[in-house]
């Protein structure tokens, strides 16, 4: 296992806080500037966080952040909104995870993959207030991370 440093842990937390505050992933350049690192040092830290503790998923072949679960850096079919803030979840599990993690009320917007009907999940007072539909797990647990994009 790749050893993660104390600074790597600080970087991980800052990335998560950046997602929470802005809905976006910081770029490697922003991370380097924040922590006074060279581009190479930043890439090494990000890859350690991916390989060492699975704290991140990077876009293959790059040092750009794809996921910091439950957050997605790229638009998905699971939009999370609270007041005027917005995030993307990697799946319905992660979308609910964002509201749970942030401890806020809000809603998740998605659409039924078969019918296309819009589905809106509402969280109010820390509980589900509108919970339409049914959740489908296509992949058994042991294979969830074999192809995380598909899962």
């Amino acid at each position: 296992m790749t050893a993660v440093t104390a600074q790597d842990s600080d970087i991980r937390l800052w990335i998560y806080q950046h997602f929470a505050d802005t809905g976006c992933a910081p770029s490697p350049v922003e991370i380097a500037a924040r922590f006074g690192l060279t581009p190479h040092q930043t890439e090494q830290a990000l890859h350690r966080l991916q390989r060492g503790v699975d704290a991140l998923v990077l876009i293959p072949g790059s040092s750009y952040i794809w996921m910091a679960e439950p957050f997605s850096a790229v638009p998905t079919s699971f939009t999370v909104r609270s007041d005027r803030r917005q995030w993307w979840g990697n799946c319905i599990w992660d979308a609910l995870g964002i509201l749970n993690l942030l401890g806020i009320d809000g809603e998740v917007s998605t659409a039924c993959p078969n019918s296309g009907q819009r589905l809106r999940v509402v969280v109010s007072d820390g509980a589900l207030a509108e919970a339409p539909g049914v959740v489908h797990f296509a992949v058994q647990a042991r294979d969830w991370w074999r192809d995380i994009g598909f899962t």
Binding site: D54, I92, W93, A127, G133, V135, A138, A141, W145
Partner: protein
């Protein structure tokens, strides 16, 4: 993990996508699972949960059986 309008929609979608149907459950259970799974991600001392800890969370929300078994060899960050 996707959210469908109904079980009929899941069956139709799986048939058209040529994907074996998986497991179904309601959002209430997923809400509890999401909370237990992700609640510590903004903690400064976060660490990756062990497989046993993750399995215990699945068990706690009633997700038991072979479909939900996490093997020691799998790679996970969730």
């Amino acid at each position: 993990m996707l959210l469908f309008r109904s079980e009929d929609d899941v069956q139709t979608w799986c048939r058209e996508q040529e994907i074996a149907a998986g497991m179904l459950f309601d959002l209430e259970r997923l809400w509890r699972l999401a909370g237990m799974w992700y609640r510590d991600r903004l903690d400064a001392n976060w660490r990756r949960k062990t497989i046993s800890e993750r399995q215990a969370i699945l068990d706690a929300v009633g997700l038991r059986g072979p479909f939900w078994h996490l093997t020691p060899s799998h790679e996970s960050g969730r």
